[in-house]
């Protein structure tokens, strides 16, 4: 690697043909790096400006929200927007509801998908490839096709206006997560489990003692994606919970907030910030899991 500052400075002293070539190459390298950084800084600024606007607006007193041209630094900082927003709507009840749904869904999904993926990746049985093709096929099915009959099933069960329609389906897994875990399980060498099998370990024992501990990163990815999908879900709660305000999730509660306080932007932005924060914090702590997960589902296989 010759791109240290010393190496970059050195060619200026060379005037021989080879040195000149090197100098040109280094200059080109430096210029391309500077251009790349300039473009990247500009673009990441464009992508981040909405976040700055969000936080700035959430801290503004009302009269500063409606100033032209807009003020970026609130004066004074209206920290009180936060407690006001979170008590104007029963935010903590919504949080509790959402947390319940998320927790149940994440656990159910991780367990069920890992079991199913084990059946598809670690046991040989006739019809396995065909069955797995069906998993892939259902991945492509638009939710609109199954949405109405599924609603009617839950209606007949008397489960509309309860959390069950949002949590129970996770017990049966999801094709996307099954696919992801199967890919990972396939990558674990068979020799690792063959020995255990010869020693008389049951399939479930192998699953629990060998595969699950080894597959923790992939299972963390499933848990993470499931949590995000559940935390961010709007359509599900809209269909099943809209008529029971005491069971609203954060997404529904905020939608209600938006529809009756739609001019109080400071409060709305404060609530939006609080709702976004857990997701961002989670992302910073689990970046690796995120990136690996997406890479794993992307194209391999």
């Amino acid at each position: 690697m010759n791109n240290t500052p010393a190496a970059l400075a050195q060619p200026s002293g060379f005037t021989s043909q080879r040195g000149g070539w090197r100098a040109r190459k280094h200059r080109r390298y430096v210029i391309s790096q500077i251009t790349a950084h300039a473009v990247l800084i500009a673009l990441s600024f464009v992508f981040s400006v909405p976040f700055l606007w969000l936080v700035s607006s959430s801290l503004k007193p009302n009269e500063q929200l409606f100033k032209i041209p807009p003020v970026w630094i609130p004066k004074p900082f209206m920290w009180s927007n936060y407690p006001e927003a979170l008590t104007y709507i029963p935010y903590f009840r919504y949080l509790k509801n959402t947390a319940y749904i998320c927790t149940f869904t994440v656990i159910a999904m991780t367990v069920s998908c890992s079991l199913v993926a084990y059946g598809f990746a670690r046991i040989r049985w006739p019809g396995r490839e065909t069955a797995f093709m069906i998993v892939i096929a259902t991945l492509m099915l638009p939710y609109a096709v199954t949405m109405i009959p599924t609603f009617l099933i839950f209606k007949r069960l008397g489960w509309v206006n309860t959390f069950a329609p949002l949590t129970v389906p996770a017990l049966t897994g999801s094709p996307f997560n099954i696919f992801l875990l199967r890919q990972f399980f396939l990558g674990i060498p068979m020799e690792l489990t063959d020995a255990a099998k010869i020693d008389g370990c049951s399939e479930f024992g192998i699953y629990r003692r060998i595969i699950v501990p080894l597959a923790k990163p992939a299972m963390a990815t499933v848990a993470l994606f499931t949590f995000l999908a559940s935390w961010n879900d709007f359509l599900g709660p809209l269909i099943y919970l809209i008529n029971t305000p005491e069971r609203w999730t954060i997404a529904l509660g905020m939608y209600g907030f938006l529809s009756y306080r739609f001019t109080e932007w400071g409060l709305l932005m404060a609530a939006a910030t609080v709702t976004t924060l857990p997701v961002i914090v989670l992302f910073f702590f689990t970046q690796r899991t995120f990136i690996q997960g997406i890479t794993l589902t992307g194209l391999k296989g």
Binding site: S32, Q33, A36, L40, L43, S44, F47, S48, V49, P50, F51, W53, L54, L65, F66, K67, P70, L115, V116, G119, F120, I123, W125, A131, V135, M140, L141, P142, A144, V145, T146, M147, I148, P149, L152, P169, L171, T172, G173, I178, E203, N232, F234, L235, I239, A251, S259, W265, A271, A272, T276, V279, I280, F284, Q287, F290, I294, T295, G298, L299
Partner: protein, 293 residues
């Protein structure tokens, strides 16, 4: 034999899910689409009447179809090109890549309710940030979501902001390109532009294809942001009434479950045909490494 029983026990959750939440709903939905059904009174057989009225009487159906096609046609190419370009720049071995990647990626995980609220405020015609930027550039302000002409571009803009998820897929694809291809090209004197067009982009076509398919399917089911930002109305003048919103309205506000089921099947056929065409076209432009021919 023991293996089969074991395997079936392991995949049992999926089998139950498949039967209860996929197979039965598909059959039921097909049946409902041929009936008049409110979900309360028993279904009344009407044959193809739902489909006939969709295509002959329902003006909103065509409006929604048109809006969705517009959204998809503009959004899908842009939402593939944007993360592709960003990933290409990021791949130049620049320092601080993790930082930039985070900046581009974060918008894609913001909850829809929060991003919708935020963008309603950004696009506010009087006090929003968007018009302030136009003013700084010396351009006239726009009505954004309140203007029939700009409502769809507004939503597309917002969705593009959140399209950074594809970056990770493209970066992974870029890392899979064998280095020896570049070395060989460099020896042959290919400049960086030629390397981009003759190595990088062809080798990335599987990732591009994957991204196109995902975004195509997503765009035809576009719902949440438009629903939140228009309060479900699809206004102004139905210019943001997307297919999913009309379907939702028919099913859960008018309780026309049969009619909405027919809509769902039309959507399914459209998405299926488009995905099929894209898949067929892929044979001419997608290059798989190690694949013959």
């Amino acid at each position: 034999m023991r293996d089969l029983i074991n395997a079936l026990l392991f995949i049992l959750p999926w089998i139950v899910g498949l039967l209860v939440f996929t197979v039965y709903p598909i059959l039921a939905s097909a049946y409902y689409s041929l009936t008049k059904y409110s979900g309360i009174k028993s279904a009344e057989w009407v044959g193809l009447a739902n489909y006939v009225s969709l295509f002959t009487k329902d003006k909103l159906f065509f409006k929604a179809l048109q809006n969705t096609a517009y959204f998809s046609a503009v959004f899908v190419p842009l939402s593939t090109a944007t993360p592709l370009c960003l990933a290409l720049i990021l791949n130049m071995k620049v320092r601080g890549m993790a930082f930039y990647r985070t900046a581009f990626y974060l918008p894609s995980i913001v909850p829809a309710i929060a991003s919708s609220m935020l963008w309603l405020w950004i696009l506010n015609p009087q006090y929003g940030l968007a018009n302030e930027l136009l003013r700084l550039l010396g351009l006239p302000p726009l009505g954004w979501l309140s203007s029939p002409k700009w409502s769809k571009p507004s939503l597309i803009l917002m969705s593009l902001w959140a399209s950074g998820g594809g970056i990770v897929i493209f970066l992974a694809g870029l890392q899979d390109i064998p280095v020896h291809l570049y070395e060989a090209a460099e020896l042959d004197g290919a400049n960086s532009l030629r390397r981009l067009f003759h190595i990088t982009l062809p080798m990335l076509t599987p990732s591009i294809f994957f991204n196109l398919v995902i975004d195509l399917i997503w765009s035809f089911q576009y719902f949440t942001q438009a629903y939140i930002m228009t309060g479900g109305s699809g206004g102004p003048l139905d210019t943001t009434l997307f297919y999913g919103m009309l379907l939702f309205r028919n099913a859960f506000q008018y309780y026309k479950m049969g009619y909405a089921s027919a809509m769902a099947w039309v959507l399914f056929v459209i998405v299926f045909v488009l995905t099929y065409l894209l898949n067929r076209s892929s044979k001419t432009w997608v290059h798989y490494l190690g694949a013959e021919g």
